[in-house]
Amino acid sequence: MTVEESFSEKIFTFVKNYSNFIGVISSFILALLFVYTTIWQLSIVAGFIGGLFYKRMKHGAIAGLVGVGTAWLIFVVIDVLSTNVNSLLDQIGSIILGVSGLGWIFILIVILLGFIFGVLSGSIGSAVRMLLKKQD
């Protein structure tokens, strides 16, 4: 056994043992990184990659939900607490809905969407893994 083989095996074993966490963490980290790009659709990629670590769609969905959803939740909470974004969302609410003071609804919707995108993309990730595995 070469040194490289030994290292690969260790990585493989590590991933196998901790796949439950790695999927969640990777989707979380990626989602958190992607919110600092200008392409919100990348959150789907984050959830998808997280889902790839699971053999069942249900588990992939949970990984995406926790990873992407939590990342968006943290991002939103930090932004709301440190900036005046809630007043901007109030204004948007007023423009779209014609009623002022409903910015908090948009905040909830955004957080909810984070969880939804996470569930969906995580499911897709794990489903793709299942299909690829079965073909093998």
């Binding site: 005046n84 007043s87 109030d90 969906l120 299942m130």
Partner: protein, 866 residues
């Protein structure tokens, strides 16, 4: 296999849902932009920086030396650099940082570039804007500036170019787009020097474009000479300049002797035909967005400025005040900034247009200046006999139109090629009118000649004012000022004061006009006959002015420019303010002594109504004469008898007076005006004159009743209607609850019209004719009280103390920053509504003197780098 199929099925379902959601947030819905673009993390609202960073260091290769910008607690930038070119680069940067969307929209409106970002819906507005040739002449002016060998012009161009680079440096490096861009789904294009020059034309349009020539002819047609002269008289005027005698009301209001004006039956028919054509033209033009504001009758877009010399101030040094009245918007039109070169004596604080690198009003270490609009008559309209699409009649010969071609970029479709037809005078405007409506009329072509249709040198003036050290420098700079003509008020540290209505005013050749025509550009001219050609301009040295007058002060509030001894025609008679503000300011200053900065504030915020003071006593007399007053009438009588004529929002007397006067005015004139089909009501000063001098005037008689009414009959009728209306509106007979601020409100719209980004409505003091004005609207419609939603007034307030320039004060009715979540979005507006000001920190002539405690944020531009 079954499991695989199930997985594929699930994958398909989840993928479809995901795709649907992604699409729902990626594609626009009708007028709404893609929701994800401005709502989801990564973009839009989450990126917007409410405030600028507390400290930023940027390296700029094009700078000669470092530049430091301190923003004070109101977000006003104080810019320190060692060359003016570097300083204006930084000014461009901070203006873009604070006002990018406003700047972008203003240039698009001026240049006819709205369709590029909005789409075909804006094409009509763009076409009309281009047809006014603002961009064309801005371009000609810019080319002239670039080619000029005058060293000052070269310096000006260099500075405008550097300023544009500052804006573009911001655009290139900006980290977020303001909310408005996300909503409208476009991004800002780079700034060019042409955009800056266009601002001059934009302001000229705002302040001097007018359709009053048509109104004048229509009035003349409806009323006839005698009635016109009576109803559109200009009584109680106090001339702005004091060295040309008193103003003799109607006999000289247009510098013409009316005795020659004769109207034969044939001419009456011609006037009526022209009046009909112009009515059709005006009705259609009114439908073009933005044009209605130029057609609607209202108190002249005015302003106040005054100077008091050392003989009447407590410090023995001059005081200068200026508040320019314009329609309010958020963000406001003015951007405050302080520019300093510590190596020279360049130190100027002023109000800038966001898009122009030179202050429009302000002061340096030596001189200060302010503006009010003159109402000079600088646009003439001509009608012609058209021949076909390419030719019209001119002086007995067919003449070909000159054609200018423009390309209008349109969002999501190919650019439109738009042609502007020009006569010898200017652009043809009848192409915007349905020609079927004019068919059969010989005079079916209408064009205009406007002062802004010239290469002009306002930038020399603005640059010159900033660098003036004395009254001679100031006058030399003012000599280049063309449009929009302004009453320039001046003071300096040497103790001089002055006032100078300034701008280019055409002199017309009226030798061949018909005998009915008033001449002087007051009515449309027969262009085919070559009437009313511009043969020159009133020379600068012949414009009226006053310097260091014996009365020790000077005032302008859009009233008549000069007294009867002045020889030239300057103002259109329909564009002269009724003069109530001027009367009040003159009265306060003439009767006072030892004025200080606090007194200047009190005058700027004054809401005493001269009009109320002159009308209300007649109302009180009439109520007093009612033999059996009911409780309500008695209460109103008591209230009005004790009223001080202050239009205080918390008082009820202003409500009763204002509504009563509106009804009194309407009841006096509406019967005759309707019968005569006059397009306008007379000036309210005419009613004041009639009320004071002729209580049995025919105008007081209601022609719809068999009786002959007098002044007091109409006063009583209006009074009863007013209190009945107020009782219904407020749902109470308790008059203490009829507060003025309940129906006199101010609403400040956002420039996009989005109500969520607007401010108000809030109840306010004042009326349209108090020194502190609010552009009040009618409070009486269809025999019911309605709320006035005024949206104009003082667009800035400035007080300059030449004893200690650091005591000079400012305020604007918005804030410095156009970002709607910033604390500087409306911080000054709230102070403004409370009647507060902020200091200018002008004394900090060097970086070291700018105290740490004043600094809210810092930007350092380091010369060098990439």
């Amino acid at each position: 296999m079954k499991q695989k199929s199930k997985t594929i099925m699930n994958l398909c379902i989840v993928s479809i849902i995901t795709l649907g959601l992604v699409l729902a947030f990626t594609i626009p819905f009708g007028s709404f932009p893609p929701l994800g673009k401005f709502l989801l993390p990564g973009e839009g609202v989450w990126d917007i920086q409410d405030e600028v960073k507390s400290k930023e260091i940027l390296q700029v290769s094009s700078l000669n030396d470092d530049v430091t910008i301190y923003r004070d607690k109101w977000g006003v930038p104080h810019i320190y650099g060692t060359t003016e070119k570097d300083i204006v680069f930084a000014l461009g940067y901070v203006q873009a940082q604070d006002r990018l969307f406003q700047m972008d929209m203003a240039r698009r409106i001026t240049r006819g570039l709205l369709s590029e970002v909005i789409g075909p819906d804006a094409l009509e507005v763009d076409r009309f804007s281009i047809n006014k040739l603002k961009e064309y002449w801005a371009n000609e002016t810019l080319n002239d500036l670039i080619e000029s060998t005058n060293p000052i012009d070269q310096k000006i161009y260099e500075e405008i170019d550097s300023y544009s680079n500052g804006i573009n440096y911001y655009i290139q490096n900006m980290k977020f787009l303001p909310l408005e861009y996300s909503f409208l789904n476009f991004e800002p294009a780079f700034w060019s020097p042409l955009d800056t020059i266009c601002f001059i034309k934009y302001m000229s349009e705002k302040l001097s474009w007018s359709y009053d020539d048509f109104n004048f002819l229509r009035l003349f047609n409806a009323l006839g000479l005698e009635t016109y002269l009576e109803l559109f008289d200009l009584p109680f005027q106090i001339p702005i300049t004091v060295d040309y005698g008193e103003y003799n009301s109607s006999s000289l209001s247009m510098k013409r002797d009316y005795s020659h004006i004769e109207v034969s039956k044939t001419q009456e028919k011609v006037i009526e035909e022209l009046s009909n054509i112009f009515s059709i033209f005006m009705n259609e033009i009114e439908e073009i967005p933005g044009e209605k504001e130029f057609i609607e009758e209202r108190e002249l877009s005015g302003s106040n400025n005054w100077v008091i010399d050392g003989n009447k101030t407590e410090s023995a040094k001059p005081l200068l005040s200026n508040d320019m009245h314009l329609a309010h918007d958020i963000p406001g039109i003015w951007y405050e900034a302080h520019l300093v070169n510590p190596l020279s004596d360049f130190n100027v604080y002023g109000f800038f247009l966001a898009g122009v690198p030179f202050p429009i009003v302000g002061h340096n270490s030596y001189v200060g200046w302010g503006m009010t609009n003159t109402g000079f008559d600088v646009i003439d309209w001509y009608y012609y006999k058209g021949i076909n699409e390419t030719h019209y009649w001119y002086k007995g010969q067919p003449k070909a139109y000159t054609i200018y071609e423009f390309e209008i970029p349109v969002k999501n479709q190919n650019p439109e090629i738009f042609t502007v037809k020009n006569t010898v005078h200017g652009p043809v405007m009848t192409d915007f009118v349905n020609t079927d409506d004019l068919s059969g009329d010989l005079n079916d072509v209408i064009a205009c000649k406007w002062i802004a249709h010239n290469i002009s040198y306002e930038t020399r003036t603005l640059y010159g004012w900033s660098h003036s050290k004395n009254i001679d420098d100031f006058n030399e700079a003012s000599n280049h000022f063309s449009t929009p003509a302004q009453n320039l008020v001046y003071a300096d540290i040497h103790g001089n004061i002055g006032i100078r209505p300034t701008g280019r005013v055409p002199i017309r050749d009226d030798t061949n006009i018909p005998s009915w025509h008033f001449g002087n550009g007051t009515m449309p001219y027969n262009g085919s006959e070559g009437n009313g050609e511009w043969i020159g301009y009133v020379p600068f040295e012949f414009l009226p002015f006053s310097e260091n007058p014996e009365q020790n002060f000077l005032v302008s509030a859009n009233q008549i420019s000069a007294g009867s001894e002045y020889q030239y025609h300057l103002q259109h008679p329909l564009d002269v303010s009724t003069g109530y503000r001027a009367r009040r300011i003159n009265e306060i200053i003439a009767s006072g002594e030892n004025f200080g900065v606090e007194d200047m504030k009190n005058i700027q915020l004054d809401v005493y109504s001269v009009k109320a003071g002159n009308f209300t006593p007649y109302l009180i007399d009439v109520i007093n004469s009612i033999s059996n007053k009911d409780t309500l009438q008695q209460n109103v009588f008591d209230l009005l008898s004790e009223w001080d004529y202050i239009m205080d929002k918390e008082k009820s007397a202003p409500t009763i007076y204002y509504l009563w006067l509106e009804i009194f005015f309407e009841e006096t004139f509406i019967d005759e005006i309707a019968e005569l089909e006059s397009p306008r009501f007379p000036h309210q000063t005419v009613l004041e004159l009639l009320t004071k001098t002729n209580e049995t005037s025919v105008w007081f008689d209601d022609i719809d009743t068999p009786e002959t009414e007098t002044r007091d009959d109409i006063i009583l009728r209006a009074f009863n209607l007013a209190i009945q209306g107020l009782e219904v509106f407020f749902e109470t007979a308790d008059i203490t609850q009829w507060e003025w601020g309940q129906i006199n409100t101010k609403y400040i719209p956002h420039i996009t019209g989005l109500s969520a980004l607007a401010y108000g409505p809030v109840g306010v003091n004042g009326t349209e004719d108090t020194v502190n004005p609010v552009w009040s609207k009618s409070v009486w419609r269809n025999n019911e009280v309605i709320i006035s939603l005024g949206s104009g007034g003082a667009s800035e307030r400035m007080i300059i103390d030449f004893n200690d320039l650091n005591k000079s004060l400012s305020i604007i009715p918005s804030g410095q920053r156009g970002i709607s979540s910033s604390e500087h979005y409306v911080d000054q507006l709230e102070m403004y509504l409370r009647g507060e000001y902020h200091v200018q920190y002008f004394a900090a002539e060097s970086i070291e003197e700018f105290r740490e405690a004043w600094i809210e944020s810092t930007i350092i531009f380091e010369a060098g780098g990439n």
